[in-house]
Symmetry: C2
Subunit: 508 residues, 2 copies
């Protein structure tokens, strides 16, 4: 009996948690939960962003006669954060804060009907009819003299899989839902099960191993992005695919969103990272045209609207402050790692990697415009409006605000932070104001709109001036200020700079 | 009185043309044509691919009461080719061969009603109420040690504009419809008119100068791609825009395809080259994933189908043989030239240029696969199926077949050429067979499907084998052969190679 991904400090942390019972007691609690009814048991490994939504979706899955499909056990690591998530689920609440109340309701429903529990004990795996792997496989990324370097360390992920392989039932359905380097399920995960099953005297052919990927998005449709969206999957064997299809049909609206079955897990794995690389690359491509439009005095947003009339060009991206989140900032690196490490290729995914690089540097474009306008930023008070990476969502994972913040701090600026949804920025360990008035009252010399939150879009021209009359420069890095509002600010001694808005040079 | 773009040999060439009348006679012919009725005269400068479609569209434009809107004069250069085009129009036929019979009918209509003529004399410009500039601005492109180099020479284009500026009416509407480096209308063309008008004692403010771009596509909807598609335009002045809008409304179905007016000619110019750069870049992006899929044994077409379910990803491109045509192969270079030469930028459109480079090299990927399969290509007979750059169209401009052909010839291969639509390859000065049977009868050792012509898609598995039973290798570079057909060929001693079809490694 051991906890997954156990770190050296975790037992101490666990001991300090009054809610943590002994392993023996917890083990009995799991066994008693499983005995409560004969519903199939689904174990979700990892209660992060995807795992939480999966636990919610599975909790409300029901047959056509209204009876529930599953009982669900969420498992997370035995760390302070893992314990916190587990406690939340065990109190009928989501492990992740979200603006989608359907998640709360779904979890409340499963918990209330005693069909949902969570634990940090790997004991749970032995009961799984279906095990869904939702643990993150992180990429270490850094810059060395403006060269993007990265590393993928499989060891933690491998250990987590090993803990499953040691305890799982022979005929379980195991679904790898993590974004992994293509080839991982076949070349790394399957061999782990193969070795463990041999040791355990089990028949590996009875196991059903599948890769499938979600397309979960934070925000108001968090739950629906699992239950009402297209899903891709592929089994190691035809029978694994059949079992997976039946499982997905129970909680996904497949009538409206038919499942896509691919030929092999590696195809499903490539599909996921290609999707995100496509998007990252299209954003990076627009960045060089953003700079061109600024040089040429052209409003790129107007141009893009003209281009998007063509359905063949409808996916073209817009200028912006930067790219954040968990996927677009790293998935191309997973693919590149796989290409060279799992498939022995001599060549890299050069364009895809370059796109990640460009996107990582994007906030420095806004920073550069600001620097050019003011010369020095020393002791300049800068109001950074928006630390989330996504509009109308409280999500600071890999937020571009971080790069901008760091660059300003290195210049000796004083930063004022605002976000409509975020009140604490965990990556920076900083409080964030939710009150624009409070930011305005501190008379910032620079205001930068970094995220397209509705609150910012709704500020009228008069309020904009009233709030920030102290500003020498306002940077609109996300198409927040319309030309109409911009023209109201002319003659007010505020310099307006817009990313992708080259025409403002002549307008103001 | 002088001909546009007159080359040193053109007068001799002209003299050798029995159809060429004296300048005096031709001048009188134009004057008499113009006097025939009071309809506004539209002169189209350049009877190439776009100019021909414009002449056709303008010929059939009519008011709501059914009366015609314009009389039209097409002008081309006084060269052998120009003379040929002019003669064709003057015989009621299109200057460019096309599969769209609507073009033939439209030109027949205008010619039959004596509202359409063509000439090589610049005399015509003086009569223009509207002058549409449809002459090409070419880019010189070459590779120096695998580095893409290019040059844009404005001199010929400038001379053509000068010939207009010297003769045009003061209050004419001049529409630059050529794809030009962004900034060209404002920074190069306008100053030419300004200088000429000053010399001529005319008021430049009375001239209406506009940039507008078409989205003409060869093929069955050639005419409709002018009359029934979205159009973008921008005038140097508000009144120029108003005049242009009225003009477009007379021959474009603006109810279904509303016009898009941009703020400045440079915005319209950027829009055009960005559209094409977007497409070129997306093709180049997929090329690196094509190679990855082949290495990983994955069918990328299957993966792309899964990804395209998402409307946010519907523009993702597919693997293929290469990129050709007049636009995608050079428009990013025009943009880059403008960025550094007209707007003084220190940085290049790196990603866009790299995409053109990648696409230019694409046919060498198919060549590489073939080389890897056979070792040497010396004295190998290779059937190249498709020399056009586009499916079901006879268009060899910048065709990727050229690069492939050259590489094979350099290895000492014997090339057999087939195309469903092309019977003469002008760039190579070679005849091309339209008979697959005739190609098969020559027992090629290699067959490569290079274009997605319908004829190729319709070959069934049995015919495929019957036609090419002599082949050691068949390369499917454009997703011509389905997996079903491919499996019928297994065991036949033919090696199948598919671009982007990594799964064929295991299939066969």
């Amino acid at each position: 009996m051991h906890a997954i991904q156990q770190s050296p400090v975790s037992s101490k942390t666990a001991a300090s948690q009054s809610i943590h019972t002994s392993n023996q007691e917890e083990s009995e609690r799991i066994a008693s939960f499983v005995m409560k009814n004969t519903l199939p048991t689904v174990v979700v490994q990892g209660l992060g962003f995807v795992g939480t939504a999966m636990v919610a979706a599975l909790s409300i899955a029901q047959h056509s006669d209204g009876t529930p499909c599953f009982k669900v056990i969420g498992v997370d690591v035995d760390s302070e954060q893992g314990q916190r998530k587990v406690s939340k689920i065990n109190a009928g609440k989501p492990a992740i804060v979200s603006s989608d109340h359907n998640i709360d309701q779904a979890i409340q429903c499963g918990w209330g009907e005693e069909r949902l529990m969570a634990t940090t004990l790997v004991d749970a795996y032995q009961y799984a009819d279906v095990l869904v792997i939702d643990i993150n496989l992180d990429v270490q990324k850094w810059y060395d003299k403006n060269e993007l370097e990265y590393d993928v360390d499989l060891s933690i992920y491998r250990k987590a899989i090993e803990s499953v392989a040691e305890t799982i039932k022979e005929n379980a359905l195991v679904i790898v839902e993590s974004t992994v380097p293509p080839g991982m399920t076949e070349e790394v995960i399957y061999p782990i099960f193969e070795a463990a099953f041999e040791r355990r005297g089990l028949d590996i052919l009875k196991l059903s191993l599948v890769h499938s990927y979600e397309r979960v998005m934070p925000g108001a449709n968090y739950l629906k992005s699992i239950t009402d969206y297209y899903r891709v999957f592929a089994g190691m064997t035809p029978s694994a695919s059949v079992k997976a299809r039946r499982f997905f049909e129970q909680f996904i609206n497949v009538d409206e969103y038919p499942l896509t079955e691919l030929a092999s897990p590696r195809a499903s794995e490539i599909s996921k990272v290609l999707e995100n690389s496509y998007r990252a690359m299209n954003i990076a491509f627009i960045q060089e045209w953003t700079e061109f439009a600024e040089e040429a005095g052209v409003n790129l947003f107007e141009v893009l609207k003209a281009i998007k009339r063509r359905t063949t060009h409808s996916n073209i991206m817009a200028p912006g402050f930067g790219v954040g989140g968990y996927c677009l900032t790293k998935d191309s690196l997973l693919a590149d790692w796989s290409k060279t490490n799992l498939f022995g290729s001599a060549s890299h995914l050069e364009k895809s990697i370059a796109a990640v690089h460009t996107n990582d540097q994007m906030p420095l474009h806004s920073f550069g415009l600001l620097k050019k306008a003011l010369g020095s930023l020393e002791n300049t008070s800068i109001a950074l409006l928006g630390v989330s990476y996504l509009n109308d969502v409280a999500d600071t994972r890999s937020s571009p605000a971080d790069t901008f913040y760091e660059a300003c701090m290195a210049e000796g600026a004083n930063m004022l932070l605002h976000d409509s949804f975020v009140s604490y920025w965990p990556e920076r360990k900083l409080n964030v104001s939710n009150e624009l008035e409070a930011i305005g009252a501190q008379n910032p010399e620079v205001v930068i709109f970094a995220v397209r939150h509705s609150e910012y879009l709704q500020i009228d021209a008069e309020s904009l001036y009233r709030l920030f009359s102290s500003a020498k420069v306002i940077v609109d890095a996300n198409n927040i200020i319309s030309d109409e509002k911009a023209s109201c600010l002319s003659g007010k001694n505020i310099r307006l700079i817009g990313v992708g808005k080259g025409h403002w040079k002549t307008l103001l």
